[in-house]
Amino acid sequence: MTTPSTTVKATGSSPGTPSGTEIRLDRVTKDFGLAAPAVDDISLTIRPGEFMTFLGPSGSGKTTTLNLIAGFETLTAGTIALNGTDVSDVPPHRRNLGMLFQNYALFPHLTVAQNVAYPLRERKVPKREIARKVAEVLELVQLTGRDDNHPSQLSGGQQQRVALARAIVFEPSALLLDEPLGALDRNLRSALQAEIRRIHREVGSTFVFVTHDQEEAMNLSDRIALFNNGRIEQIGTPQQLYAEPETLFTARFLGDSNVFELGQAALGRSIVWDGESWGVDPATVAAHPGVRAGSAIVVRPEDVEVAARRDEVPPGANAVRAVVRDVEYMGSYRTLLLAMGRRGLPGRTRVSPLRGDYAIGDEIVAWWRPGAQRIVAA
């Protein structure tokens, strides 16, 4: 639940130009009068030029948070500031934020060029400059020559490109995108993901992107804010969220994991699960002075190895006996679905096709290095 100060090294993922806008949410709450607030006391700073993704299950408050930033919803409590200026009471048309919608929201009575020119005309930009900017931005989204088409004459991907052009042509302080690729098929999605990433690099402004697709979030983001029940569960780079989940929810939401719930066990140099005694990385002990009730050990499938017998497990590794439940062929690797321990806890591991054959019902030993496991709060 707590979101500790995540110290992200500004590595290769940081954007080139510092022209973006900082978006600061301070104790933001939105209550629709339902059982629980849709957005519950969120504090978050989105850095200038950052590609921030709101990820989370359906109904977790991502869209509501985005709409609060855009100004489409009013705050129940808290403040929102753009570059240090409090905009909590500023109407959406004066916030100067671009917005992309899942269903494109192009104006059907206007042509492509007129749609893109719309925000410029609202800003009374001179005619000649409008023409130049429209041509420029249509080239950026690779839609040159479609100026006079109406939106209904374009494919879904092309329509979203027009919407993207329209949302960036007036150089907004930031671009807000609410599942903009949700209505597109798989191939088009990845093509447009690449395009959005490129445009983010080129325009260098702050992007806030909403999705419930973890792969999309991993692909695009500088940082991901993982939403759960109106709160931010964890925030960090994609690598951080995957490799260092702080809660069980995070571990389960991003990628597959093997989860061993610990109950009341106290954490020392070793830990006992289902009769197996496992070593614990000293660093982990330092980070978790006491394992709370409901904590769990998480191991990613790619960190789990398979041995035929217990004496094949290297010394120092943590092991659990398991039965092969099913084998999934994934091409370059196979996934073994396991029943682990006495209770037959479901688990999974990846094995290379070179490493022998496994059949359903085989008894094996699954093992991993203590350094690969994470202890998370449930």
């Binding site: 671009g98 919608f101 009575h109 719309y118 609202e122 949302a167």
Partner: protein, 286 residues
């Protein structure tokens, strides 16, 4: 007189370009007996109206069918007699002003009720329909009594206000129909692009529901143009509308010029009704 039956078709013609302009003709072929039945109904409604046109060219001194001879005399009467011409002019004036006022008020009401949703909005929408379902004579008496006190009887303003009251529901229905296909997200898009709510209405909402507004305006015009009950109560010796003059011509003087007036009215009203379709045909060819 002729406006109510057509009302049902207005939401279909009013739906804006947002809903696409494709029409599905291949779905469920219409059986022949349904077509035949439709034909009979059409004839039943239209035939009486068509009788009046040949009669307007009749040479006879009284109403007679089939008409005898052929003459433009009745039309000459109509266009040379200041009483007929003045009442025609009055009707046009009142109907035009009514159309403008009712369309403005009705569109505003329809858009507001559409944004409000909920039980209150539904109640208000029903309330707005009252002038259509209330017996014309009841409305007329109520208006007459009120307007006597306010000294509005026999004035253009009085006619326009009274006709607007009964024309607004038609505008509300037709604009509400057009709003049915309108995507609210477009208004959010507009505001994110820098449009204030009023600008968004002018640049996005209005163009997209323009056909509904136009249809509403035409209905309002025609409701006023052929309204007779209210007009009878509000008339003054110096100001009366064409339907009232027609009423006089059969009850007071038995003037066959009414056939010419009626024919002109039928033709005018039909043309006005076809206007949106003619405009649409032109827009599509563009």
């Amino acid at each position: 007189m002729t406006s109510t039956p057509e009302m049902t078709s207005s939401p279909a013609t009013a739906s804006g370009p947002a809903t696409g302009r494709r029409r599905y003709t291949k779905v469920d072929p219409i059986p022949w007996w349904l077509k035949a039945f439709g034909g009979v109904v059409v004839i039943f409604f239209i035939l009486p109206t068509l009788f009046v046109i040949p009669m307007s060219f009749s040479d006879a001194a009284t109403f007679e069918f089939p008409p005898r001879g052929f003459t433009w005399r009745l039309y000459e009467n109509f266009f040379t007699n200041p009483i007929w011409l003045d009442s025609l002019g009055n009707s046009f004036l009142v109907a035009t002003l009514t159309a403008v006022l009712a369309t403005t008020v009705g569109t505003a009401a329809a858009v507001a009720l559409w944004r409000m949703q909920g039980r209150v909005a539904r109640f208000v929408r029903t309330l707005l329909m009252v002038p259509i379902v209330a017996p014309a004579i009841v409305v007329a008496v109520a208006v007459y009594i009120a307007f006597l006190g306010w000294q509005l009887t026999g004035t253009v303003l009085g006619y326009v206000l009274a006709h607007t009251a009964i024309a607004v529901p038609y505008v509300v229905v037709s604009v509400t129909g057009a709003l049915g296909g309108f995507d609210l997200q477009l208004l959010r898009a507009a505001s994110s692009l820098g449009s204030s709510p009023s600008r968004a209405f002018v640049r996005v909402t209005m163009p997209l529901i323009s056909r509904g507004i136009l249809t509403g305006a035409i209905f309002a015009f025609i409701v006023s143009f052929d309204e007779v009950v209210l007009a009878l109560f509000l008339r003054s010796p110096v100001f009366q509308t064409l339907p009232v003059q027609m009423y006089n011509s059969v009850t007071v003087e038995i003037d066959p010029t009414i056939s010419a007036a009626s024919s002109l009215m039928v033709v005018a009203v039909t043309i006005i009704f076809l206007l949106p379709q003619l405009l649409r045909g032109r827009a599509r060819r563009r």
